[in-house]
């Protein structure tokens, strides 16, 4: 029984890592209708950017800002240089997915000769371990959970209370109408890429902190989990992504406790498939903060 409680605690950490990433991913999808398969590679690149700072002696928490900035800038450029021109040309939805795949391939393989194939780790101290009951978590892990909660609150405030947030929701719902109402959709889209890019950068750094060791090849494993979490909650819905992250994060750890650890990802994905059967639009399908783009 203790194992399950501990697993639940670990699930909180997993879900925090997934949530930060999934929310960024789903916002990209919700507002620009892009399934950005290069997302995980940008995460890894940002993790390496943070590593560059960390290696020079900067604390990982400060280096994370470097990672966020890098993620923001790179995602912005990725959209401007690659995605937007293709979208402007009227490339089909599936065509854009393929473009993002090509981008992912290129990013990973340009990064590989630069950073090499040796794995790297951050210089970070886990901080004292906190135990309450059967929960066993280090301070660093608690900080990660806290960071995730903070970011979720910030996104919530952004979408609900700010003008930009409203503009983003309008653009997501109906870009043409939004433009006709005077919303500078192009600038909104740019800002979306900057913000979600920053989330992507933080997510990459946090994920790399969480696994204690990372390399270019880590990207591929992150991608599926992020997509699964985003879709589980309802693609395009940030709150959905948060819920999806909670479910996948917890189910992964709990099933490792309950059955053989080899299958832990399968359980999470099986849940996704079940949800797809019974509620194909995802868990939060009503038009919440952001409508699922049409």
């Amino acid at each position: 029984m203790d194992l399950f409680v501990a697993a639940f605690g670990f699930g909180l950490v997993s879900m925090s890592v997934i949530a930060i990433a999934a929310v960024g991913f789903t916002m990209q999808f919700g507002i620009t209708n892009m399934i950005n398969l290069a997302y995980a590679e940008v995460m890894i690149m940002s993790a390496y950017a943070a590593y560059a700072f960390n290696h020079m002696g900067v604390s990982i928490w400060i280096s994370m800002i470097g990672g966020a900035l890098f993620g923001a800038l790179f995602s912005f450029l990725l959209n401007r240089v690659l995605y937007a021109p293709f979208l402007h040309k009227g490339t089909s939805h599936i065509g854009m997915v393929i473009v993002s795949l090509a981008a992912a391939l290129m990013i990973a393989n340009i990064l590989l000769p630069i950073v090499g194939y040796f794995s790297v780790s951050y210089t970070q101290s886990p901080g004292p371990t906190i135990r309450f009951g059967a929960f066993v978590l280090t301070t660093s892990q608690l900080l990660i959970i806290g960071l995730a909660v903070l970011l979720m609150l910030m996104i919530h405030s952004l979408l609900t209370f700010t003008r930009l947030g409203k503009a983003m929701r309008a653009t997501a719902a109906n870009p043409t109408l939004a433009r006709n109402c005077g919303i500078p959709t192009r600038r909104v889209v740019d800002l979306v890429w900057l913000i979600t890019g920053a989330l992507c950068g933080i997510a990459g750094t946090v994920a790399a902190m969480n696994s204690e060791s990372f390399a270019v090849a880590s990207g591929a494993t992150y991608l599926i989990t992020i997509i699964a979490a985003a879709v589980l909650g309802g693609a395009g819905q940030p709150y959905g992504a948060m819920i999806g992250a909670i479910i996948i994060g917890e189910m992964t750890e709990l099933s490792a406790a309950a059955i053989s650890p080899q299958f832990k990802e399968v359980v999470a994905f099986a849940i996704l498939v079940l949800v797809m059967i019974f509620r194909p639009q995802g868990l939060l399908a009503r038009r919440g903060a952001m409508a699922a783009a049409g």
Binding site: I35, F86, G95, I98, M106, N109, P113, V231, A235, F269
Partner: protein
């Protein structure tokens, strides 16, 4: 040299068959089947366990089910059947009224689940190590490493390819194909006309599965090994890139796409030299460069030919709208 050439030809044949199947499912019917590769894998595994001897007989190092040692062409027929059989439960799960994005993701995730399950349930298909020493078709009578055998294999592959192309052509140009296109373009309208999209999709999904399974059987007979590392989910996306670059909805587009992406791009890049003048490029640089070039080629083709190299032909009707009949004009039947 003919060794490499026949390899390319067989791979081209297999990829073309696979792309034709994907084109039927996706290009023609709009099913974004991101789990496509598992159908090819199922066919390959089926052909393997049907043609291999029982696992205890070959030293027991590989553990797998069946092992029926059937002669060619039975394993290939089995491969096609298994591909179709797999399409049934998958289709039942995902082909309902799912929006295409969600359908795609659900299928992508299914593909990952399949990989994990096969890897970890070791006694089923020998887990991560996969199956090896799979007997080549007709290897009892012929030497599978001779040049003649290689050409024979190319010939058999070509026969299968023509058969599949014939089927695909007939489907695309049949009333059934028209219905599928209609459903792809405007599902609601098609439903209003009385068509049942789910059963339509199910049928083409199974047909695609059968063809994909056959492609797996052909491939596994040639390379003699099959393991989960061969059919990871990115393989599906490469095939999608092929169909899109070549021209979705168009059988010949699928052929062109198959020749360009999985065959052309992936093989041409092997010839990038590892020396630049007299300077050695860093280790691993050229292999990584190969993938960068593949990505660039995909982007390049999509930029200059967004609807594909051979887009789907627009189908128009000759003549104008139907003429009005006289008795409406005469006011009958107010």
């Amino acid at each position: 040299m003919s060794y490499y050439l026949t390899t390319i030809l067989v791979y081209a044949g297999v990829d073309i068959i696979a792309c034709l199947a994907l084109n039927l499912q996706f290009g023609l019917s709009g099913i974004v089947n991101f789990s496509f590769i598992i159908f090819q894998a199922a066919g390959a595994y089926a052909a393997a366990v049907l043609s291999m001897p029982p696992s205890s007989q070959i030293g027991g190092e590989q553990i797998y089910v069946l092992g029926l040692q059937m002669p060619f062409p039975l394993p290939w027929i089995g491969a096609a059947i298994v591909g179709g059989l797999l399409a049934l439960p998958v289709g039942l799960v995902v082909l309902r009224q799912l929006r295409s994005d969600y359908q795609a993701i659900a299928m992508l995730v299914l593909s990952v689940i399949a990989t994990t399950v096969i890897t970890n349930v070791r006694p089923f298909l020998n887990g991560a190590a996969g199956l090896s020493s799979i007997p080549a078709p007709l290897s009892d009578n012929l030497n599978p490493y001779s040049n003649e055998y290689a050409y024979l294999y190319v010939g058999i592959t070509a026969v299968c390819l023509l058969l599949v192309l014939f089927i695909a052509h007939r489907i695309v140009n049949s009333p059934y194909g028209r219905t599928l296109r209609a459903m792809r373009e405007h599902e609601l309208a098609a439903t209003a006309l009385g068509k049942n999209p789910v059963s339509l999709k199910m049928t083409i999904f199974v047909v695609g599965g059968v063809i994909a399974g056959l492609s797996g059987g052909i491939l596994v007979g040639f390379i003699g090994t099959w393991a989960p590392s061969v059919w990871l989910y990115p393989e599906t996306i490469i095939l999608f890139a092929a169909v899109i670059v070549g021209g979705r909805g168009n059988n010949f587009g699928a052929i062109v796409g198959a020749l360009l992406v999985p065959v052309g791009f992936e093989e041409v890049t092997r010839f990038i030299p590892s020396k630049f003048g007299s300077v050695d490029l860093p280790v691993g640089f050229v292999p990584a460069l190969e993938w960068v070039v593949i990505g660039l080629l995909i982007i390049g083709f999509l930029w200059f030919r967004p609807r594909g190299v051979l887009p789907e032909p627009k189908r128009t009707f000759q003549g104008g709208p139907a003429e009005e009949t006289h008795w409406v004009q005469s006011g009958r039947g107010a």
